[in-house]
């Protein structure tokens, strides 16, 4: 269905100039992602996964070609507009430095809502729901330093979904987690995808993550090498 397409790229190139030579990090990427997908960019390190994810997340712009996210052309957004897109419609989860250390779990999750200027009773409700989702309602007043790696990453998931975004982008979300925690957060995200129809896009080379994906887009040297839909999901 045409109107359910959230993300569409066409002949997208990203070239880094390295002094004398150029490095083509992304090479003619053309793809589309529909609402409710649970998709991952997979491939070896250096294949361009992060670069592509950052462009979709409007943290970066393509060198040529186009990227359209939620009807907006990434390459022509002002920094204010791209911040607005991230703030309201896109949640991010990274491998590291995910939380603001001086704030509590509650405040970390509340932050995107504060930026939106949302009134406090609504904030309270949404933050409560999000923490409930990730199973950390009882740790609302803890500081990040008091949490385990798995708990920290679940707070990051809560922060990404609290504003009920259309898209969540997760770059190597399990890289610093052990197997049990990796499966735990992947299940949480798969559940959110089921229940809220939130679109998840991963960049990963972790087999544990790949096992949960419904669609795998394999990148090699900045090119799409394979784009396959997985029939059944392996849960655990």
């Amino acid at each position: 269905m045409e109107n359910s397409v959230l993300i569409r790229t066409h002949d997208l190139d990203k070239i880094y100039s390295l002094g004398l030579t150029d490095l083509k990090a992304l090479d003619r990427i053309t793809l589309s992602v529909a609402r409710g997908e649970f998709v991952g960019f997979v491939g070896p390190s250096g294949s361009g996964k992060t670069t592509l994810l950052n462009i979709i997340g409007s943290l970066d712009v393509p060198t040529s070609g186009s990227a359209e996210v939620l009807g907006r052309r990434i390459e022509s957004l002002s920094h204010k507009e791209s911040a607005g897109l991230r703030n309201r419609h896109i949640g991010f989860i990274f491998q590291t430095f995910n939380l603001l250390p001086v704030y509590t779990v509650y405040e970390n999750v509340e932050f995107p809502l504060l930026l939106q200027g949302m009134e406090s009773s609504r904030r309270k409700q949404l933050v409560g729901d999000a923490l409930e989702w990730v199973g950390l309602a009882d740790r609302a007043d803890s500081r990040p330093a008091q949490l385990s790696g798995g708990q920290s990453q679940r707070v990051a998931i809560a922060r990404a979904i609290v504003k009920q975004p259309e898209i969540v982008l997760a770059d190597e979300p399990t890289a610093n987690l052990d197997a049990a925690n990796s499966h735990h957060i992947m299940k949480t995200m798969a559940q959110l995808n089921e229940d809220l129809k939130t679109t998840f896009i991963f960049a990963t080379h972790d087999e544990k993550v790949i096992g949960y994906l419904k669609r795998k887009i394999t990148l090699v040297d900045g090119k799409i090498a394979k784009d396959e839909t997985v029939e059944k999901t392996t849960a655990g």
Binding site: D60, R86, F92, L100
Partner: protein
């Protein structure tokens, strides 16, 4: 959002404490120096007014030309009419005639031979009239160290240090040797009624204060006076009013060129203000500039320190800034929030610094700081005990460097965030 930032500041000591201490110490110094400068300037002005020039003074034109030499041969004569005019026309000022003179003070021994002799600077003021403004202006009663104030003719007060040097007591006699306004030698005998200390080295070491009428008699200056001082009732120098009075008086007593040729002009009265008469004019201007320079220096120094703190701080906060960018905060917003944060610190630091600075300044106002030993040979009208002085400006002056420096420091260090592309910034933060 502000309270969110504020929470972060409170919890992150490295982010708040060092800049706070920087601001605090700069503000304390600014406030304290300002009060100090105020205090020394106002006491310099005050004692210059009291002893040298009044807030305004009237002399003959000829006397005015070389007033530093105290040319009593060119003194005002028939001052009663002039005094009456001044009191009638400018009743908001206190008017009082003075004669300054130089001479030798001779202390006789029991047989009447000279036991000690020293040059002195004399001051003839109205000491005997109970309504004389000099009681207030010179604050004589408080200045008495030994003895009492003169109550009869031919009684004098002498500086306490001078009395010590000459080894004289109240009740001793002294002979003043000087010259009359017509140039002949004058010898007059006095009884020392008391000794005084004004806290001004130049005065306490060499001054003899006698009643005006005695001096007039001794120097053959009947109904004359070298100068007539005018003082504002609150003992503060009001420049605008002083200028206005001076302009008005001098217009009344202006002479046409014809009169000048006739030779009358040199003995007509002319008025001058503290500012012009004291030679403090430039000095007073410097003070204004100097205050500005002090604040400028503090702003610059503190800005540089805070700028560096801001740079290391934003290195340390790369992670935080990266998250905020990703969560969807606009980089302009981040920059503004860094500024807001620093202004909070600047404000708190300025408030605390002002409080501490005022406390120190208050101590300096009550206790003072003795610079007498520095001024041992000084002839300046600077009190040996300098006190800080707190004025309304003292309460706000610290906010200028406090807020400006934090603002500048952060504005400069944060420019990197503002100028770079979000993607570029994010990459740097990521690595």
């Amino acid at each position: 959002m502000i309270s969110f930032l504020f929470k972060g500041l409170l919890r992150d000591r490295t982010r708040s404490l060092f800049p706070l201490l920087t601001v605090l110490s700069g503000v304390v110094l600014t406030v304290f120096l300002h009060a100090w400068l105020n205090g020394s300037i106002s006491s310099l002005i005050q004692s210059t007014a009291h002893f040298s020039t009044g807030h305004v003074r009237v002399m003959t034109r000829a006397y005015a030309k070389e007033s530093g030499q105290i040319p009593n041969d060119l003194a005002l004569l028939g001052i009663d009419t002039l005094m009456a005019e001044l009191k009638a026309e400018y009743p908001d000022l206190l008017w009082t005639p003075r004669i300054k003179f130089g001479g030798l003070l001779d202390i006789p021994d029991a047989k009447g031979e000279t036991r000690a002799q020293t040059p002195v600077s004399g001051l003839g003021v109205d000491l005997l009239a109970p309504e004389s403004p000099e009681w207030r202006v010179l604050n004589i009663r408080q200045a008495i160290v030994k003895g009492r104030v003169p109550s009869h003719h031919a009684e004098v007060l002498i500086g306490e240090d001078l009395a010590e040097k000459l080894r004289v007591q109240p009740g001793d006699t002294a002979t003043l040797i000087s010259s009359t306004m017509y140039g002949s030698m004058s010898v007059a005998n006095f009884v020392i009624a008391g000794t005084v200390r004004f806290g001004i080295v130049a005065m306490d070491k060499s001054t003899v204060i006698a009643d005006l009428s005695d001096v007039q008699q001794a120097l053959d200056m009947q109904r004359g006076a070298g100068e007539i001082f005018g003082f504002f009732a609150d003992d503060l120098y009001h420049e605008e009013r002083g200028d206005a009075v001076t302009l008005d008086f001098n217009r009344r007593h202006a002479f046409s060129p014809k009169d000048t040729l006739a030779g009358d002009a040199s003995f007509s009265p002319v008025m001058g203000t503290l500012r012009t008469e004291s030679g403090l004019a430039d000095y007073l201007d410097y003070v204004g500039v100097f205050s500005g320079v002090i604040i400028g220096v503090f702003v610059a120094a503190m800005s540089i320190v805070l700028w560096n703190a801001g740079l290391t701080g934003s290195l340390r906060r790369y992670g935080e800034i990266g998250i905020r960018l990703a969560v969807g905060e606009d980089k302009t917003h981040i920059y503004v929030s860094l500024l807001a944060e620093s202004l909070m610190i600047g404000f708190i630091g300025s408030v605390l610094g002002t409080l501490v600075g005022l406390a120190v300044a208050y101590y300096g106002q009550v206790k003072g700081f003795d610079i007498g030993s520095v001024l041992k040979e000084s002839t300046m009208m600077i009190p040996s005990l300098i006190r800080a002085r707190i004025t309304p400006t003292t309460f706000v002056i610290g906010f200028l460097p406090g807020l400006l420096a934090t603002f500048l420091g952060t504005a400069i260090s944060g420019i990197g965030i503002y100028r770079r592309q979000t993607s570029q910034l994010f990459k740097e933060l990521e690595s």
